[in-house]
């Protein structure tokens, strides 16, 4: 009487076998959309008069748990999906390129988590199904960095042009091995440089290795994902979609659902420096119509606790560029390579000229908006050159002054990827942001040094959590992660 039970207990709407390419595409989407958007506030690009939406810029203690979002979403999505892909293709030598791409993307995804939280589950993570490990230990960030760099190195070296690749399922490079290699070395450059405060020697080793391997220096090699303007949300630019849905969907400058606007420091900086990006990124609604005139652009202070009567007069993101749902999301840019190389040059780890690299960084940072939003994002060479003319690297300046210039430019270049700006801010101290002091803040009026683990970890993975806290310090916003040590 049980002969057809197995058939009855098989979901007719599901498949028993995994399609690694389909899962890989999903992992790319998920990894690219798992952003901590509140950091747009922390990095003082945006803010809101509302405590919940304004948490990132106000550090309101009651909203502290928002900061656990990336950790909470990563493992059961992109990290586990990559485990499925790697388990499926791992043993097959014919699929070595698939494995290499998955490993590089996994290093990217993990780096995005550990840079926010410090110690995280890594070596024991996502083994719930395969090894029944429901309580993975947290690895020290130091070891995570060592492994991610090793992974990037091994993966970059393992590509074999004779073998198959993900092809169209690869949203970033459509199966181009050489570009994946550059992406791997670029990430190695990023991660290597992250260690300058904590271990300059190790940093130098990896930065040099990365440069030798070949990093992204051509806009054609930028790591990015293209999106669609309509259809399922997963196919839309995740940062644009989030901003659009949360605040700017009505596009009238006044009905912003969560009270969002650009924050004062960002707009003021662009305006004071006559930055051509201001005109493509920012609008003020005048009589319901978007106006990009520089003169009227104005950022909103983060200290407001209620909707100001002049709310409509503040700048907000341009629907045609920042909020473009079909806009590309840039994962690693030539601008970043150039700025990192400029720093490497300043440190004597690279032979290139720091000024040239710095200028190339600015130029590619401005050009990248035409990649994100072809047409509406275009900035002319004349505008770029004029800007550069007035923003030369101070050749006579100290190392620190040059770093300030480079990483203030990086702050402008990274927008809207606030997570990368947050990481380089913590490492270099630039841009020199003035913390917002708001009643009831959780940081004592300072900018975050890290994000909080999800509360559920205290509940469901207590021993591992406690061990991590004992090693790293209190699960607090002001605890510094390994590479951020003073």
């Amino acid at each position: 009487c049980t002969k057809d039970f197995q058939e009855i207990n098989t979901d007719p709407e599901a498949s028993a076998t995994v399609q690694p390419a389909f899962v890989f595409t999903k992992a790319l989407y998920d990894g690219a959309k798992n952003n901590l958007n509140l950091l747009l506030g922390t990095m003082q690009y945006t803010t809101s008069f509302n405590d919940v939406a304004g948490f990132g810029s106000k550090y309101v203690s009651s909203q502290s748990q928002q900061s656990s979002g990336v950790f909470g979403a990563a493992y059961y999505q992109e990290i586990n999906e990559l485990a499925l892909v790697i388990n499926a293709v791992g043993q097959n030598p014919d699929q070595v390129n698939l494995l290499a791409s998955a490993r590089i993307w996994r290093a990217y995804c993990y780096s995005r988590i550990t840079d926010l939280y410090g110690d995280i589950p890594y070596s024991e993570a996502v083994k719930g199904y395969t090894e029944a490990n429901y309580k993975p230990a947290y690895d020290a960030q130091k070891n995570i960095y060592a492994d991610m760099l090793k992974e990037l190195d091994e993966a970059a070296k393992s590509f074999n042009p004779a073998k198959t690749n993900f092809g169209a399922a690869d949203l970033i490079y459509a199966g181009n091995n050489d570009k994946w290699k550059k992406f791997a070395y670029s990430l190695m450059l990023r991660l290597g440089m992250r260690m300058t405060k904590v271990d300059p020697v190790l940093a130098e080793t990896w930065v040099k290795k990365a440069i030798a391997g070949g990093v992204i220096t051509d806009d054609a090699d930028i790591a990015k994902i293209n999106y669609l303007n309509a259809g399922q949300d997963i196919n839309k630019n995740p940062i644009a979609l989030k901003l659009y849905n949360d605040d700017y969907i009505k596009a009238d400058g006044n009905s912003n659902t969560e009270g969002g606007k650009y924050q004062e420091p960002f707009i003021t900086y662009l305006k004071n420096n006559k930055d051509p990006r201001l005109a493509i990124l920012s609008v003020v609604y005048v009589n319901g119509a978007p106006d990009t005139s520089s003169a009227i652009q104005k950022g909103m202070p983060a200290t407001l606790s209620a909707k100001p009567t002049n709310f409509v007069t503040y700048s907000e993101p341009n629907q045609k560029t920042v909020l473009l749902l079909s806009g590309a999301k840039l994962l690693f840019t030539t601008a970043e390579s150039n700025f990192l190389l400029a720093e490497a040059s300043l440190r004597g780890w690279y032979t290139g000229d720091a000024s040239t690299l710095y200028e190339a960084g600015i130029k590619s940072a401005m050009k990248q908006w035409a990649i994100i939003a072809p047409g509406d994002g275009a900035i002319s060479d004349l505008q770029i050159n004029t800007y550069i003319k007035y923003h030369k690297l101070n050749a006579a300046g100290t190392f620190d002054q040059k770093m300030a210039q480079i990483y203030t430019e990086f702050w402008l270049a990274a927008f809207p990827d606030a997570q990368e700006a947050f990481a380089s801010y913590r490492r270099t101290g630039y841009p020199a942001l003035v913390p917002v002091v708001y009643v009831g803040n959780a940081t004592g009026g300072k900018i975050f040094r890290r994000m909080l683990y999800p509360l559920t970890e205290q509940n469901l993975n207590k021993a591992s959590y406690n061990a991590a806290v004992a090693r790293q310090g209190a699960d607090d916003f002001m605890t510094r992660i390994w590479w951020d040590k003073l």
Partner: protein
């Protein structure tokens, strides 16, 4: 007319005879006397009753010598002598009753005696009554129509025949058969002392309660029909010891949560199995129960039991223990609620019953807010529309002084306290129910058809629930050996604008609960502007204007439900019958919810659609054999097989952004997806039971059942489980003082096995993810499947004592039980860093121990006045014994904002509320973070139990002449409730606790984190932020959920229909009914402790659901 059949007729006959005797009390001159006179003399002398068919004594005389009374010491001898030579004989029924019968020829005497047994009070046929020919072993039991047929055995042919008729719950009766041609009509009197009760047990078997090794409670259908609840399960509140029934705060057409003897499973369905006329029905909520923390479309769509019309219910039996339920298998491990529907009965013409109830309901205002400081922020009231909108929910303004201010409508209003926002926002709800039932039948076939209409208007003016029910029950006797029964119920249920619960979006209740205290909520009406867009009233777009929800949100759902049953019973040989039943409960559900264009939070709208086809099909075959050995030992054996099929075919159709604004169609969505779900479950079973009784003294029951579950691992999908129960009637065994009617003890042990509630938990599978670009795939669910999934088991020990005294005037029933679930199938939350959010595991162990007491009494029992009391009390202590290895705790649910959790923790009770406290040092001083001027929050701690361990109910019935007055008081004690309403009312400055510091700032003092004395003053300008941050300390919002409520009152008047000669009315009554009348005791100031809005396992949160309502109305019942 045949007079010998009912004891009523005896009395009548006696009276007649006495009259006759007085008239003919003379002796005939010829030395003979009339036979009739002689018989009368015998009756008088011996003070006995003698029955006979009218006319048989006429024109007969006897010799005087035959009636020399002085010579007889015994009435038997006297009768024998007197009747000698008259062609008449007599039979002794007992010492006081005799019957005279004719000694006819063989032709006159049929071989077969037929008849029908009725209950004398209600004239309903009695099923399962036993009829024996006295002095023989020939007997039969009555069928579903109360009919029996006996073949007279040869050894008694020609002799007077007496039938002994018995049925549990009735006085036994001996009936002399004087006329074999006419079928007998036998009426049994209910046993006056109620020494024994008959109840319906598993598989519809009627049994004497004294034979049961476990506790059962029966509630008559009439208790549900006067002061009615739309959902019959809610009406169980307070009526049965150990049954914790809760109606939800979700409006008309909402679900119920019924828990019997505690929660037995961590993740599984803890509600009982509902069985209608022996077959299970589906009790699922389409699309699943509402959750505790979901944004949008978190709505209670109503459960399965809510479809049953109270007027169709004859009785409800609650089988609490494992033994009681063992025959129903795994789903009965949480107990079984057996519903027996009304059936037709043989009668002349058509019986018509009409029942109509009209009630109104009103919201109860639980807002215990401060009315000293009004709308505004930092001690300042708003003077512009913008300021008013920005502070629409904030009562941190100036001292309320009656001066002018500007509210969110842009108009100037006096700055005065508005205390009636609950009354002003909610409408008066109404419930109008009409049921008409027709019944009738002949010897061969009886039927009952009822048609009912329920029309409810909620307290949210656009909420409506309509239910039309048609229920047809037919019993037919095809031949002497074959009977068939058919039941068909069709429901059409339509819900309109069911109220959303949980988080703020689209939940209209947030507006009247949270609006600043100087705002009359009606100023926010109609909630939309000329274009149809929402008008803002506060700074959070997510807190939708309640009037916009009422006027523009759209929800409707339609459920077409059909419950069909057909059975055939075949009496193959004497005492052995076979019964086959097929039942199918099927519903088709369509739900659409529109979040309209113009909403502030989701400006372009959202569409949620659900289509669900659910069916529960059962095929059951049972064989039943009964016999008695040497008159003392009764044996009854039952065996059967059952196959259950469950299927749910569901389509979720969701989308965002209406391309053409204000046009609400799935085809008009910019982003949409349709996701099918198809669940199939099968359980095959074989089972048997044996009942043995010895001399009405000792009863034993044994059951065994083997189930095969499709949802389990093929290697482990079968389980055999057994139960044993016994009952010993002490009062039968030893002589007790006369005051004792019955004293018995009972005990049972039962094991029940169960499968996984959901299918597809064995193997990991992969599903496509909706994509407008490249194909995407991921694991189907974030639950780790389990290839070794095996059955869980639930083991119950139970013992009890039943005592009845003073001819039933006092009764006590005590039960103690221990129930343990092992290998519970846990859908355990695990750290997401494992790659999954849950794991399906066979590890849980959970214990429930408790006692139940039922005390009944009739302090006064006079013909004009009587008073009945029934008090029930139950205490259940639950304990989580084991979870996943190495884990002490897992999370079941989280509140809105994650400010509180419901957890299962080893060593604690089932479902504890977990949250943070303010950190205190050893001296109890609050530890402050001196940098932030806020108390330091502790980590997560247990804050109380979410489920009340102690429940009680007190029913009192007064009958004063034609009036009946009844009250039900019930209470629950010992649980805690975490209130989201209070979290918000604190954050928004509505709670009285936020008054401190309004004038000069709030002074904090305690210690800092280093342990040094700390003090600080929060300025008035910082108060809002300070009180807003109190949400980080869950303990502040956790309160004792104990309560006592006057749940129900009924005053009914039995209209004296005898005076209404014009219409043929059998009975009529009119009643004033009221429910949820008064809360006599509670410890929650700002909300009703019974404010749950989900019937899922996460209990312990209040989260801004509909206010509780008080119901008043009238009920009219007429029988033609």
């Amino acid at each position: 007319m045949l007079c010998s059949c009912s004891i009523f007729c005896y009395a009548q006959l006696m009276a007649n005879n006495l009259v006759h005797a007085n008239k003919t009390k003379q002796v005939a001159a010829d030395g003979k006397m009339q036979l009739k006179t002689a018989i009368e003399l015998i009756k008088k002398k011996f003070d006995i009753k003698i029955a006979y068919r009218e006319g048989i004594l006429e024109n007969k005389s006897i010799n005087l010598s035959q009636n020399e009374l002085a010579g007889f010491l015994d009435p038997g001898l006297a009768l024998r002598q007197t009747l000698n030579g008259t062609q008449l004989a007599f039979n002794k029924i007992n010492d006081a009753q005799f019957i005279i019968v004719e000694l006819g020829s063989d032709q006159q005497r049929a071989d077969v005696i037929k008849g029908t047994v009725f209950g004398a009070n209600d004239n309903l046929p009695l099923i399962g009554a036993t009829v024996y020919i006295k002095g023989t072993k020939t007997g039969a039991s009555t069928d579903a129509q109360g009919q029996f047929s006996l073949t007279v055995p040869s050894e008694v042919k020609g002799q007077p025949i007496v039938l002994s008729v018995a049925s549990v719950g009735f006085e036994p009766l001996e009936v002399a058969v004087a006329d074999f041609k006419t079928p007998l009509t036998i009426k049994l009197q209910e046993s006056s002392s109620k020494l024994s009760d008959v109840v319906v047990t598993a598989l519809g078997i009627k049994r004497d309660t004294k034979a049961l090794g476990y506790s059962v409670t029966e509630v008559k259908g009439s208790e549900f029909t006067q002061a009615r609840e739309n959902n019959i399960a809610n009406a169980l509140t307070g009526k049965v010891a150990g049954v914790n029934a809760t109606g939800l705060s979700t409006g008309p057409g909402g679900s119920s949560r019924v828990i019997i003897r505690g929660n037995g499973s961590f993740n599984g369905n803890n509600q009982p199995l509902y069985v209608v006329n022996g077959m299970p029905i589906d009790n699922s909520v389409p699309g699943g129960a509402a959750t505790t923390n979901t944004l949008g479309n978190n709505v209670d769509r109503g459960d399965g039991i809510g479809s049953i019309n109270p007027d169709d219910i004859e009785s409800i039996t609650v089988l609490k223990g494992g033994t009681a339920a063992a025959l129903y298998g795994s789903r009965a491990s949480n107990g079984v609620i057996l519903i027996t529907t009304k059936k037709g009965r043989k009668q002349k013409g058509i019986g018509v019953e009409y029942n109509s109830t009209y009630t109104i309901e009103q919201a109860i205002n639980d807002n215990d807010y401060q009315y000293e400081y009004g709308q505004g922020l930092n001690g300042v009231k708003p003077m512009t529309k913008n300021d008013a909108i920005a502070t629409g929910r904030l009562s941190f303004g100036a001292k309320i002084d009656g001066s002018d201010y500007v509210a969110a409508d842009g108009l100037t209003h006096p700055y005065t306290a508005q205390k009636d926002n609950i009354k002003n926002f909610y409408s008066t709800g109404t419930n109008f129910t009409n049921t008409v039932a027709f019944s009738g039948g002949t010897d061969g076939i009886v039927y009952r058809l009822s048609i009912a209409d329920l029309d409810s208007k909620g307290i949210i003016s656009t909420t409506r629930f309509k239910r039309q029910t048609a229920n047809l029950n037919i019993n037919a006797k095809i031949t002497d050996k074959i009977r068939v029964e058919g039941l068909a119920q069709y429901n059409l249920e339509r819900g309109f604008n069911r109220t959303l619960a949980g988080d703020a979006l689209g939940n209209p209740n947030w507006t009247p609960y949270e609006v600043a205290n100087t705002v009359d909520v009606r100023w926010l009406a109609p909630g939309y502007d000329a274009a149809g867009n929402q008008t803002p009233w506060n700074d959070a777009g997510i807190a939708t204007n309640g009037y916009f929800v009422i006027n523009k949100y759209q929800q409707d759902d339609t459920k077409n439900r059909f419950i069909g049953q057909g059975s055939i019973t075949y009496d193959i040989v004497k005492n052995f019958s076979l019964k086959g039943v097929i039942s199918r409960d099927f519903y088709n559900y369509n739900y659409t919810s529109i979040l309209p264009t113009g909403d502030i939070y989701i400006p372009n709208g959202q569409y949620t659609g659900l289509k669900s086809d659910v069916s529960e099909t059962n095929a059951l075959l049972t064989g039943n054999y009964k016999t008695r050995i040497a008159d003392k030992v009764g044996i009854s054996v039952l065996g059967g097989v059952n196959s259950r099929r469950f299927e749910n075919k569901q389509l979720n159709m969701d989308g965002l952004t209406f391309t053409i604004p204000y046009f609400y169609s799935y085809k008009n969505l910019a982003t949409s997806s349709t996701i099918p779900t198809h669940q199939r479950i099968r359980t095959n079973s074989i089972f048997g039971s044996a009942d043995i009784d010895y001399n009405n003294l000792l009863f034993l029951t044994y059951t065994a059942r083997n189930d095969w579950f499709s949802t389990l691992s093929p290697q482990n999908n079968s389980i055999l489980y057994q139960s044993v129960g016994g009952s010993f009637v002490l009062s039968q065994a030893v002589k007790l003082p006369e005051a004792f009617d019955i004293l018995r003890v009972r005990a049972s042990w039962a094991e029940v096995g169960g499968g996984a509630a959901d299918p597809y938990r064995i193997n990991l599978s992969y599903s496509n993810v909706p994509s407008s670009g490249l194909p995407l795939q991921n694991v189907t669910s974030n639950d780790i499947t389990n290839q070794n999934l095996k059955p869980y088991t639930s083991t119950t020990y139970e013992g009890g004592v039943e005592l009845k005294m003073f001819k039933g005037r006092l009764g006590l029933d005590l039960t103690a039980y221990s129930r343990k679930t092992t290998n519970d199938i846990l859908n355990a939350a695990i750290s997401s860093t494992s790659g999954y959010n849950n794991a399906v595991l066979n590890v849980g162990e959970l214990s429930n121990k408790g006692i139940e007491a039922l005390l009944t009494g009739t302090p006064i029992s006079k013909s004009k006045f009587s008073w009945n009391i029934s008090y029930n009390l139950a205490y259940n202590k639950s304990k989580v014994i084991q979870l996943v290895e190495g884990t002490n705790s897992f999370q079941v649910a989280s509140s809105v904002g994650n400010w509180g959790y419901i957890n299962q923790t080893v060593g604690s009770a089932y479902g504890t509320i977990v949250g943070t406290r303010m950190l205190r040092n050893a001296e109890g001083q609050i530890v402050y973070n001196s940098a932030t001027n806020r108390p330091v929050a502790t980590g997560l701690q247990e804050l109380g139990d979410g489920v009340p361990p102690l429940t009680m109910g007190l029913n009192q019935d007064f009958r004063i002449g034609a009036f009946n007055i009844s009250f039900l008081v019930d209470g629950k004690f010992g649980n805690k409730v975490f209130s989201i309403k209070e979290v918000y009312a604190t954050r928004l400055g509505l709670m009285k606790s936020t008054l401190e510091g309004r004038e000069n700032g709030l002074t904090l003092s305690g210690v800092d984190q280093a342990g040094n004395p700390y003090s600080a003053t929060i300025p008035v300008s910082g108060l809002r932020a300070y009180y807003n941050d109190l949400r980080n300390y869950s303990e502040l919002f956790v309160h004792d959920g104990s309560f006592i409520k006057l749940r129900q009152a009924i005053i009914s008047y039995n209209i004296p229909v005898e005076n209404l000669k014009a219409v043929k009315i059998q009975s009529a009554s009119i009643s004033f009914v009221a429910r949820n009348i008064l809360t006599l005791y509670k410890k929650t100031d700002t909300f009703d402790p019974e404010s749950s809005y989900t019937n899922g396992n996460a209990q312990g949160f209040e989260s801004i659901g509909l206010p509780r309502t008080r119901t008043f109305g009238l009920n009219l019942m007429v029988k033609f």
